[in-house]
Each structure stands twice: as structure tokens, then as C-alpha cells.
Symmetry: C2
Subunit: 430 residues, 2 copies
């Protein structure tokens, strides 16, 4: 057993231990994955994952706000009416988005095959897809394989499942913790996620599946979920630029060896904090993933007039192409940062703004500080650093996470559609 | 004399002839430029321009909406109170932004030196700067040279002036037309502009100086200016992401050999259309400039519910990194376009959306069309093409202009600040 860590969230502090196993770390969950040839016709890469609870669950989910919604998202939203999912089936390689009636049929067929293989209701299956937009699912290569996939379910299946949902991610993303409760016993929370390896996070499809064995009511789960998503994934999916497929699912099956967590109790606060911890770790893995990202940057806006002002300023900086390019070149270009703050829509006074790289001041009261540029460069040459923008106009804060923009990003993202079509054609698939 | 062209704007059509001379093409204007060593310490590049009217003017100007405003913008806004400017002095190499009290003093010193050299009032001088943010102006290298600059003023000075305002632009931008009036005589409009060579236009400082000899009232000039800017420069400075220094100035000195243009007359419509033509040509030059931009793309949104919806959808597509990367790779990736429309905030119905590359349909009713991908690739391989997004939900249209995002863009923009500081240090300037 590893040493305990302590994390703070808001006023609270929670002690926990990082454990192995991701979504299968909590009691009563299994997972598996196979290769169906969705990602590549040779079927050499895992691309279909299944996660199940052996016990009834309370399930909550948050979906994309994009008005163009993938077929799988629509089917999930229907199946979430009772919030008692027992399984998540997820594929990579095809997003099943912009696929019309056929797409809905395909998503339902995946649920049906899963329900039959597991002996559960079709509406107890959630389906997620990620990959290219606008091509029909190769469904004939998926549904006939679901029984085989179900037969492979195991408590050790987390690694495979986390790999099977990867698209341009360079590594699987998985995290789990065990949290002791003050009155005895403990609960576990685990999760997996995918983003996209080298790209600015606000443009990638984000999937995250989280399991817990905590004994908690539906209302409290929903409340904790909304809070935790807002503090984590919403800090990287900036400005509503969510993809057609973004989905976060949290299931709890109440199998923890501990007393139920009651409304208004201190344990609720611990649960909320623990869920936030898991989501935040996964969110940071998404942002930081990939050889092509060379910088992970925390943008902190302090002392804005309102929360909305803080958010606008932080997101404008985090999204600015010119700021992201300067991070790539390890260039402490605070002029571009104040420029982005200026057009963000936040209410600011230029002459009050201070900007820091790490803890070192670069701009004081809207003017260049006397800090030698070498000291600032030392900070931005690091692979991880923070930029603090103090607006000195109020008391509201906001933090978002961003990356640099690298040349390789552009190269990587310049020919997805044609390449996919041509690959299919070579294999005689279109 | 060249053959006449005809351009339409709204319901109107205006006949005109393209002429040489840019800002010095209209009667009564002169221009000049010198090298002061602001752009490079060796003073081998033109970096200080002067444009004057030999006669009193009516002047209108539009400035950045960025809340961080350069010192020169603040001084211009003061000097615009009477709207009777006689001169524009403009430098490149330093933006005089985030420079505080010293910056204001420097901008005023440039106006004062110009007024003295020309024998006009200080408030009749407008001052514009473009370049790096957050460094004080090397004012001791500028003001002592203004008299020399004024002595070089000539009717042939347009070429030098247009070069002196360039920053990362790869070529000067200049355009002028002569417009005959139905009742006899003609007027001329000319202009110069700068953007930034290789970058997405919404991030560059944009300056444009426009002169005309039309006899027109202040109210009518203002009205025509607002209309023309909205149809041209505002189509490339997307979403209020204007720089700290953006400025468009229009001067008229009434020296045309024609009768005054009266309110409500057909000639007003001709003037408005002609002004829009000049601004649009300059705007297109800004977007299309530079070796590093490989594509110039017109994004047309059709049949939106409202004008606001059309604008949101067009701007989201024009700004999307993933869309711009796919243009760079000549990839007809309509999935990324519909994705951007989906998160734009525009009210849309996915199943009604059609997307065309050039005139060729790629997506019909939110689904892939049957068009062979080779036909679509042929369009997006061209250096200039249009993308039409038909929302089929109303009658509102909007057009914006954008470019691809190239690897060279990232490289070019990754070390401006450090490089500038280090260059100064090597020369013993800091």
C-alpha cells in the first residue's frame, strides 16, 4: 500500500491513496477490449472497449453542448432516463457523428448486442464513439464480436479498455484512488479518459468513464458530478468548443465496505473532493498528453471583478494562437497575453494588470517590469509552468489549463479526412 | 488609362478605374518615409511614414475595441475631436503599447514634431504605431528626424509610405480608384494598409489609411465609413480580437473636380460603394499576404435564422484551428466544419445543413454527400476557394475571409519577444 496523499478542494482536505486498476479499481467492476478493425483494417489496434458493473448502479452523465451531436450521444441520452446503466460500450476510429438514421440504428445495435451478451436491459447500456466524423460505422465488424468481448471481461481489464478508446492519444489515461472515511471503511473511485495527443484540448473529443463503489444517493451523485466536471474537464474544454461526441459518465454501485454517505454529512464533502481529484488528474493527463505538446501551462486569473470576467480573461489567453506559439518557443511574451486579456470581453483596467511567469513578475501595472528577460525565459523553458494574470480589480479567480501550439500539431492535423478516405479506398472499403 | 471595372455593392453598381498612387492618388495628398532604426538598429528598413493633405480635411477614424489600447490610439482619439486632421505619422517596429505615461509623451512628441515641421496644429496630427508591445519607443531616434521626413513629402511617396508601415507583411498593400460621377467629373479614393504576412488575420495589428478628394459632408463620410469597415475589415478582424493598435483612418479634402455629393443623392450611394471597394481590396490583400499563407478561403454562411446566427457560424469556422489545419493540407474535411458550426452558438439543425467546397456539395442534410473525395480535393488544392455552409433555416447570410494555418506560422510566431530583447541587448540598447 502506498503512502497517503492529501488534496485540498475549496475549504476541504481529503486524504487518499493512489491505487492501481482505473475503472476496475472500485469493487464490482470489470472491463475488456478487443480489436475489430475500426481503427485500422488490419485490426491490430484495440478499438472496442466494454466496462460493466456486476451490481445495479446509479449513473450520471454529462454530454457535449455542441448542437451537432453524434448518434451515440443521442442514444445515450435516451438510455440515461433511468440512470441505472450497467455497461458502457465504447469504440475508437469512427465517431458515428453526422451519420443520420443509420448512425442511430448502429448505436442501438451496439447497445442491443451488449445487453444480450450480458443479460441486462438494452437501456442499461451506454454507447460512446470517437474518431472521424461523417462516415458510417463498420457495424458488421462490431456487433458480431460483442459476445466475445463480454466473455473477456475481467477485473484486470482496465489497461486494455483505456487503450481501446485512444485516438491520437499517445498513451492511455487511467487513475484511481481509495479514500478512507472518518467513521471507518473506505470507498474507491477510478476512471479512464481519452483526449487527443498533440492538440489543443478544446478541439479534441473527450471521453471519460468513472466508476465508484461509494454508497451515495442519486441527488448527491449528480451534485458532486456537476461540481467536479466544472472544476476539471470544463477547465480544458474551453468556451463550449466541445466536440460532437464529448461524454463524461460516472457510475456508482454502492459496493464499498462502509456506511452510506448521507446528505449534509462531512462524508459528502469528502466524496465530492475525491471525485474532483480523479477528474482533475484525468483532465491534466489529457492536456499534457503527447510528444507534440511541449508545454503544459496553467493560466491563473486573479482578482477579477466577477467570476465571469476571470473566466473570459483566462480562456482568451488559453485559446490565443499567438500566446500558444510563444509558449512553444519558450518566449516570455507578456505583450501577447495582455493583448488577449484586452479583447477577452473581461472588464479590466490596463494600468492595474500584473503578469507573472511562474512567480516572477513580467508586467507590473500594464508596463514592462524590470525583471531580466533571462529570468523569465528560465520559467517558460520548463515543460510545466504557470502564468498568473492579476487584474487587481476585484476578488474573483479562475484557472484553466492549456498547452503550446507546435508545428507538429499543424502537420498532424492537416490531412485526416483525405487520408481516411484514401486508406479505405485502398482496402476496397469504399 | 485602364479599362473601367464595375463592382456591385448591395443593390448598387459602381463603375471605376483602378489607378496608381494609393494614398497620393486623390488630389492634394503627399507622402514620404524614412528609416529611423526603429525596426532594425542598422536603420536599413523604412519605418517612419508621413501622409499629409495640402488642404483642410474632414477626417473620420475607427479604432481597436481592445480594452488595452496603445498610447498612440489614445492620443489619436483625443486629436480626432475636431475631425480635421492634416497629417498621419506612422511607425513600424514598436507598437507604443503598454508603455504608460512615457508612451503618451512619446506619441504627443511625434505629433508635436510633425505639426512644427508642417506648420499645422498639433491636434491635426494623427499618430499610429505597430510592432512589439511593452517596450518604450526609441523616441530620440524619431522626433529629430521628422523635419527631414516632412521635407521629402511628394505626390510619388505612396510606395515608400506603404513599405514603412509593414511589420511581418511580405509586401506593401496599396490600392486606388477613380470613380466618374453621372453628372460629370469624378473623385478618387486611395489607401494603404498593413496586416501581418503569414498569420491569421484576426491576430495581427491592422492599420489602414485612406484618402479621398470627394466633396462630402462629415455625416455622410461617417456613415459611409462605418458601413464600409463593417463590410471589409470587420470581416477579417473576427470576433473583436482586434490588436491594441488597430486603426482605420479616412480623410477627405474635397479637391475633386466635381460637384459636391449631397445627402440622399445617387452619388452618395456611389461614394459608399467606392469606399467599400477600396477597403475590401485592402482587406483581401491583408488576408492573402505572405508566403506562409497557402490558402485564401471565403467562408459563406447562407440561410441562417438571423444575421447574428450567420455571423457566429461563419466566424467559428473561420477561427477553428482544426479547420484551418485541414485547409493547409488541402483536406476537404467537412466534419470539422460542421463541428465548428455546432459549437458556434448559432441556432442550427444538424439535419438541415449542407456544406459545399467551391460549388461542389460535400455534406447534404448533415450527412456525407456522394461526391467523390477527389472532386472535393480538387477544390481545396486551389490557393483560393470558398466554403459555403447552407443552414437552410432562414434568410440571413454572412461572409468572412480566412486563411489556412501553416507550420511556418507557428515557427515564425514562437520567439518574437526574446528575439527582440536579445537583439537590443546585442546592440547595447538595453
Amino acid at each position: 500500500m502506498k503512502a497517503q496523499d492529501i488534496d485540498s478542494c475549496g475549504q476541504s482536505r481529503v486524504a487518499f491513496t493512489v491505487i492501481e486498476g482505473g475503472v476496475t479499481a472500485p469493487r464490482g467492476y470489470r472491463a475488456a477490449a478487443i480489436s475489430c478493425g475500426i481503427k485500422n483494417p488490419e485490426a491490430t489496434r484495440l478499438d472496442l472497449a466494454l466496462i460493466t458493473s456486476d451490481f445495479p448502479t446509479i449513473t450520471d452523465a454529462v454530454f457535449t453542448t455542441n448542437k451537432v451531436r453524434a448518434a451515440c450521444v443521442r442514444v445515450c441520452q435516451q438510455n440515461m432516463k433511468n440512470g441505472d446503466a450497467r455497461a458502457i460500450i465504447a469504440n475508437s476510429g469512427n465517431a458515428n457523428a453526422c451519420t443520420g438514421v443509420q448512425g442511430i440504428q448502429d448505436a442501438k445495435a451496439m447497445c442491443k448486442a451488449t445487453a444480450e451478451a450480458l443479460g441486462i436491459l438494452q437501456r442499461q447500456v451506454l454507447v460512446c464513439s470517437t474518431g472521424i466524423i461523417g462516415m458510417n460505422m463498420p457495424i458488421q465488424r462490431i456487433t458480431p464480436r460483442v459476445a466475445e468481448l463480454a466473455s473477456k471481461l475481467t477485473h484486470d481489464g482496465n489497461e486494455d479498455a483505456s487503450r481501446a478508446i485512444m485516438t491520437s492519444d499517445t498513451k492511455p489515461k487511467s487513475y484511481a484512488i481509495e479514500v478512507p472515511l472518518p467513521k471507518g471503511g473506505s470507498f474507491r473511485i477510478g476512471g479512464i479518459a481519452k483526449g487527443a495527443g498533440m492538440i489543443c484540448p478544446n478541439m479534441a473529443t473527450m471521453l471519460s468513464f468513472i466508476t465508484t463503489d461509494a454508497k451515495i444517493s442519486r441527488d448527491e451523485l449528480k451534485r458532486a458530478m456537476r461540481f467536479a466536471v466544472d472544476q476539471s474537464f470544463n477547465r480544458i474544454t474551453i468556451d463550449g468548443d466541445t466536440s460532437t461526441n464529448d461524454t463524461v459518465i460516472v457510475m456508482t454501485n454502492g459496493q464499498a465496505e462502509a456506511a452510506p454517505i448521507k446528505k449534509g454529512s462531512p462524508e459528502i464533502e469528502i466524496f465530492r473532493c475525491a471525485l474532483q481529484k480523479v477528474m482533475m488528474e484525468l483532465a491534466k493527463m489529457i492536456v499534457g498528453d503527447g510528444e507534440r505538446v511541449t508545454k503544459f501551462v496553467e493560466i491563473r486569473v486573479r482578482n477579477a471583478r466577477t467570476q465571469a470576467d476571470a473566466k473570459k480573461a483566462a480562456e482568451a489567453v488559453a485559446k490565443s494562437l499567438l500566446v500558444k506559439c510563444s509558449f512553444n518557443g519558450s518566449d516570455p511574451n507578456w505583450g501577447r497575453i495582455i493583448h488577449a486579456v484586452g479583447y477577452s470581453g473581461a472588464r479590466i483596467r490596463e494600468e492595474l494588470i500584473d503578469i507573472y511567469f511562474g512567480g516572477i513578475i513580467a508586467c507590473k501595472g500594464g508596463l514592462t517590469s524590470k525583471t531580466p528577460v533571462g529570468d523569465l525565459e528560465k520559467v517558460v523553458k520548463e515543460p510545466r509552468f504557470s502564468v498568473t494574470i492579476d487584474l487587481n480589480s476585484g476578488t474573483a479567480h479562475h484557472i484553466v489549463y492549456t498547452t503550446d501550439l507546435s508545428e507538429a500539431y499543424v502537420d498532424f492535423n492537416s490531412s485526416e479526412y483525405s487520408a481516411a478516405i484514401h486508406a479505405k479506398r485502398q482496402k476496397g472499403l469504399v
